[in-house]
Symmetry: C2
Subunit: 286 residues, 2 copies
Amino acid sequence: MDSQRLKLVLGYDGTAFHGWAEQPGLRTVQTELQAAIDTLLRRPAGTTRLTVGGRTDAGVHARGQVAHFDVTGEEYAKLLGRAAGSEAELAYARARKINGVLHRAGANDVAVSAVTPAPQEFDARFGAIHRRYEYRLKHGYIDPLQRFYTAQVKRPIDFTVLQQVSGELTGLRDFTTFCKAREGATAVRNLTHFEWRELADGTCVARIKADAFCHSMVRALVGGAVAAATGRIRPAELAELADLRERSTRFAVMPALGLSLEEIAYPPDKELAARAQQTRARREAV
Amino acid sequence: MDSQRLKLVLGYDGTAFHGWAEQPGLRTVQTELQAAIDTLLRRPAGTTRLTVGGRTDAGVHARGQVAHFDVTGEEYAKLLGRAAGSEAELAYARARKINGVLHRAGANDVAVSAVTPAPQEFDARFGAIHRRYEYRLKHGYIDPLQRFYTAQVKRPIDFTVLQQVSGELTGLRDFTTFCKAREGATAVRNLTHFEWRELADGTCVARIKADAFCHSMVRALVGGAVAAATGRIRPAELAELADLRERSTRFAVMPALGLSLEEIAYPPDKELAARAQQTRARREAV
């Protein structure tokens, strides 16, 4: 075995990170994690390059981030060690080796929950079939234990309106109203879920799921729904703004701290292979 | 009105505090809060003395801590300001004034949720009829967003055993086995609830309620239950140890970080007054 692709599932508290992506001189999740893997596998610094499923912004959290990278057969053996157990136990045993390095480096705000071998066709970014986010917000008093994880909303929230307007934003549509413009990129996405539950203390928790999201889309969608639920705009106006397909100043992009990337889903390995075969066949036909 | 007693409900992230109680040179919740109240009411530093319902140890969190202190009529007017609204809105408006001072002092890990006028007979410490705590623990991977709030347990947990042995520890009994000894103090308490729920990710959350707790009792009770649920001791042995009424090295006192003081309950105001009248009548009869 020459090269083995590995899939990582990981979580982080985004508070002290400048987001996922490497940036010179700034502390990012990618930088910390790549350095830990380099150390663990005794690679020269800067060798490991992670491909990620969701490039989160500064301050955004994750419980189910996914990334991939490749190791040599020798490195894979080192990562496996002498651990025995179920597939889940082995996946966590490998993860703990990376976490050990992270902790020794003082980074206890990021941790890997599972490292599993993946087919060479697995791609954390382009292979994902959907992403799921959570957004937490509350009017009034914020529990200090939630101060980094729940956004405060100044005005009282009408939960019924919040639920209703959020549901109306779902579907396969052009989300330009809720996206930071990128030249030549489409904002057509399939938002399958945008629903809320209310906790005992009044915290509202959104479950937001789509095939993919454009930049700042979740926080803008929540901002639009909150503007309607707090009476700043009429529900009908939010629908009109969504149809206009241009950025609006009628609602705010919500703060990063309320947002967490919960899950990224991929097709089963068999389908990955089939898909890769298709891609290969198309290439060979050219 | 000469003097008005105020009841405070507050929460804190215990991570960066050396517990509730004032200690020279250490950062404690009591010190921060008293200083903020002194500042807000323009009292000389060191004037405000808070009486608290639950003296939490270093690292222990709180969502429902209760304290009381007295203000003059003039100070009370200042605290009320020109706010209008429901009783709950007024209670939060007063709390926000204290929180404003705390935040300006850089303390965003403690916040008051409600300040309400209370009868002069109200006593946050001796008037409480029960205290409720929560303990969070998990085997294996700890979500980084939970790293300050959920204790890690090395061995796999048998949830059925955890639930069973915990239930068997409830009742009106002598808890000396689970208490740090204090000369001449009784360890007889009425533990009415000690039950667990399991979250989707495997985190076990205990709800623990008693009329009162002696020092380190919650963390020792959880330690005993965990020792049984992880197979370190037999459930029958835990019951025997409880009956022995002496401290044991067969189980550990769990770490502070998993613990949170959730609620302190008091009798209705009417009963407070009646109780005080009784106390007064008894004194006068002497």
